[in-house]
Subunit: 447 residues, 3 copies
């Protein structure tokens, strides 16, 4: 009856548009044994803000697994499977001890390692507690966030050590926000600098800086751990080069939140050090630090008291806005949640501006498939005694508009900046800053 | 062990009654590609009251599809697929323009036809916007209701033109009410005149008129577009013939709401012009007009301010009643919702009084199967310059009880009425009324 | 890549623990046609407290079936399938008559047996009401509880007649509480005397008696209808022997709620006569009587006004506690609900103290499999003119600690008690009590 080969690319052709659009399972499913779930399990992920752990064990869900997080009386955190290894009662009801947690039903006691310390009703001759372990994951607390590793013990990487974590005169303030959608939608948003002029500026008013309304000159750079990209704009006589990190699979850093590109400076650092942790296939946490320091926010515009659980001090990052406001002036949270529980890539039509999204998906797919063939991914462990260098932040140089193609001038300038960043990435912080400044100062055109 | 051939038709035989009763998928499923969904997609359906469309796009679901309905700044309505063709953000967040709607994420702009007007971040050389269309459906606004057509563009019928829409001195007031059940249950209720004496009158008190408590004399008449039936009763010395329309698949019209059969009159018209629009398999909207005019409601008993969103001015049509009242005095809404999310025909036992339900199911099944063989259904498009004639309404003639079988006398009289209606159906309204009156006046027996 | 043969019994080995743990369908699924559902349908089960049946029919769900329970105007209870046999409207809207219930849609009237008494719209010649029955189950009201039988009519057992139901000077007060989990978790708790020292005493404080904190000496005894077990402790110079009944599949009786073992007495009786009735696979009712009498509660500590719908007068039996209190001081309800909607036996590790749980599962499995081979289960019908003897209750004898192994002494004493109970089980109540006392008095060691 109908021409089933038509695909609806015609006026009022909704009838012919494919409706049952599949989900990209390879990149979207995060549960145990799934390709992406296995890949994600090779990395440390933050799972909870420390301040949320009180006297009682805390139920949480990460990568599709139900878990109980607790702090024992010695102050250490433990992360174990939800249901007791004995008869399955939830350890959410467990009693925290000096070391480990005890099930309320029959008193079995588990160390944070999963070792069974006591099975008090059983005969002294019972070997139950020697024969089995309760499911547990290594957990580390660092600057107000609890991180955990969910992969095979024998491939556990060192705890991630990033240069931003060791920056002097910088306060790292934890925050964590839930999104009811797949993790990839949240991660892709950070590899998409082209949404900024539209979503954040032109569509329903300026959410950050008016200068963001101009279409940026974007340039992607690959590195062993993922990508960084330059996102450059003209700002009067200046060229403002903003850098963004994306380490695989789910880590990103932005430039400064309150930069306008008006004052020349070199090697500003990131305002956000951020992970996107999957809760399950259709729920996700952003878990991050806001970096507060005088260098990147000299006017102290950050609002420290808005940073924390389900809240951060910049526009549109959570569900907690009145619906009419969210609908008429949507933010990042609305964009990724608005793609649905799991976005279908089959219904998308990517353009030239979706280069970052394409790069991220391809890199994830490669990492997932490599792992299936036995090739373990590179992890941000640091090396040669130093932390992993990251690049995110802002550099502003005075390069007025010339007589040629200004977008070409901006691109060339941004490449000079990237080159300086890459060349000096392994120097200690102060020397690194000095070397970058030395390289970039000559770019300035004196009036 | 047990006799599996028994079917529970014995005292206390619940054990043997089949429990896993299948649903009639052929008539119940309305999603894209289903037999009934395809058939329903050959007709225009109302989808929303105009007054519900404000400044913001409105999310809605019809026939299992997620859609966004909006009114652009030129005043036209548009109905498009929910997720943007670019990266899939919900167009519920879209910004309405002079013509069309613009996605908030990256600014792509879609005309109501689905044509992509702009992809503003893309290179001027991009041909994306020429290559694809966004999914869209033709939508028409008429007397306070938005109608849409969800089928193949090449088989789009003319907008339905029914005589009731063009009645003079008649006010059509839109209303729309949700039911959490399959569309067929709601539609069947209108083809079942035998529930009236029970549900509406004898069971828990008179919901409409006391005269409805008598078992009516019912006679079904087939027509090209579906059915009409006479539903006749004695009212003192009068015979009151009430006519009901059912055009396939989901359209019906009733007689007057406030008639008692006490005064002789001819060719009264319908108080309700009504569609049953599936939201999905287990949710349905009744979307209709209440017809208000002096002819059918001379005492002006209609309550205009109760007619609208989730409300109408007669008994038992919505969820919005206290549970104890709904349970002790159920109305139509409770009857069809009380059949469950999708009624199982396999657990029913139809009797002689279910003739209308049988006719409707058979006609739908025939239409569905014909379409599968390439035979398009007849649609209410009007012809020969005139609108589609409908028959619903009341005629009362003075025919006192005779010495013979009174139900036979009522049936004969109702057939004379139907005959007059059919004979003059194609005349313009005033002439039609005069001709019917001329034919029926001789039926009256002078005292 | 990973060693898939590992099972996670190692420190921080959560990754290797099997995650997708199957449910024991054979013991957990209760719907029509399932192995366990068929087995459970061979027994009478309480379904509702009488006091919940008011003027209107009551919707309820038992063994995965949707039903309507009503009391007709003659005072009898009826239990029928929810949806009318005619067009499927819910009989929750039905009108109760002198005998039976009438559907609100078209007035069909059903007797409690399912017989169709009237199809009032149909022709007098219609044989519909002779040809079919509505699905119905036999229901009996007894001491404030409605019981029903859901199995094949031809294998219907006599109504259960237990000695506790006929005890003189005993008030049986009905109660009923919902749990959102599988029935087996609730039932197993009663066959697990070892949770008492932990959950109820040592873990978060004394919920019943401090003496319960000592690990009991437990001894299981099989009988034709299931099990009883002794649960014995030292209490100063006394040995306190507590007996618990478990009749297959889902019936249990406890000892006294307020016993401390301080005063010598013989053949105390049960404080709870209790069934665990499945609503469906993941919802369960405890439906029971609290037995109030002077013998077992001489100080009248019971709180009669707390016993009823969703409430009983002892610790931790319902959802109705503040979350912080439930989490920090969980009770039985929290233990079985905390095992999840359906506990997975595959993730458990049973020890020596789980003997009762093992016995119950094995006995259920045997009963289920026997039935599949055509062997009907034994039911508690009583015999030889007398009721079914049960044993639950407390006996305290004065047997001070000797020079040998005290737990061995306690076990031997408990076996003497069990022997006396079994030997005289078929005597009428007063004679039985006298005979048991006569047998047990010589156990006392005079100071």
């Amino acid at each position: 009856m109908n021409d089933i080969t038509r695909i609806g690319n015609e006026p009022f052709g909704g009838y012919y548009k494919p409706k049952d659009r599949p989900v990209d399972d390879e990149l979207s499913r995060v549960g145990p044994g799934t390709p992406c779930g296995e890949y994600l399990r090779r990395f440390w992920h933050p799972v909870m803000m420390s301040e949320r752990i009180g006297d009682r064990p805390l139920l949480l869900r990460v990568l599709g697994e139900d878990l109980v997080l607790f702090r024992d009386l010695s102050g250490d955190v433990g992360l174990v499977h939800k249901h007791c290894s004995h008869r399955g009662m939830s350890l959410e009801f467990g009693i925290v001890g000096k070391h480990g947690i005890r099930c309320a039903y029959h008193g079995w006691c588990f160390a944070s390692s999963g070792q069974i310390m006591e099975t008090p009703g059983e005969s002294p001759r019972s070997v139950l507690k020697e024969r089995i372990f309760h499911g547990a994951y290594p957990a580390v607390e660092y600057k107000g966030l609890v991180f955990a590793y969910f992969g095979p013990p024998e491939t556990k990487p060192a705890f991630p050590r990033l240069d931003m974590m060791e920056l002097s005169d910088n306060e790292m303030v934890p925050w964590q926000i839930h999104s009811p959608c797949n993790w990839l939608q949240v991660s892709e948003n950070s590899m998409d600098p082209y949404h900024t002029p539209f979503l954040h500026t032109r569509m329903s008013g300026v959410q950050f800086e008016e200068a963001w309304g101009e279409l940026p000159v974007v340039d992607f750079h690959e590195r062993d751990l993922g990508y960084f990209y330059t996102n450059a704009r003209r700002s009067g006589d200046n060229i403002w080069v903003r850098i963004h990190d994306h380490l695989l699979p789910n880590f990103s850093q932005n430039g400064a939140l309150y930069e306008r590109g008006e004052v020349v400076r070199y090697f500003g650092r990131s305002s956000l050090t951020r992970w996107v942790t999957p809760i399950d296939d259709t729920n996700t946490y952003v878990i991050a630090w806001r970096n507060l320091n005088a260098m990147d926010d000299p006017d102290r515009r950050a609002r420290r008291d808005e940073i924390g659980w389900e809240s951060v001090d910049f526009y549109g990052q959570s569900a907690h806005r009145p619906d009419p406001q969210r609908l008429s002036n949507p933010g990042d949270w609305d964009a990724w949640v608005g793609q649905g529980p799991i976005n279908s890539h089959a219904r998308e039509h990517l353009g030239g501006t979706d280069q970052g999204v394409r790069l991220l998906r391809n890199a994830l797919r490669k990492g997932i498939r490599d792992l299936q063939r036995g090739i373990e991914p590179v992890r941000p462990e640091g090396s040669s005694g130093g932390p992993v260098p990251t690049f995110a932040g802002d550099t502003i140089v005075r390069v007025p508009r010339g007589t040629g193609d200004d977008r070409k001038l901006i691109l060339e300038t941004s490449r000079r900046v990237a080159e300086a960043y890459v060349n000096h990435q392994h120097l200690p912080d102060a020397e690194r800053r000095a070397a970058i400044t030395r390289d970039l100062e000559p770019l300035n055109v004196v009036a």
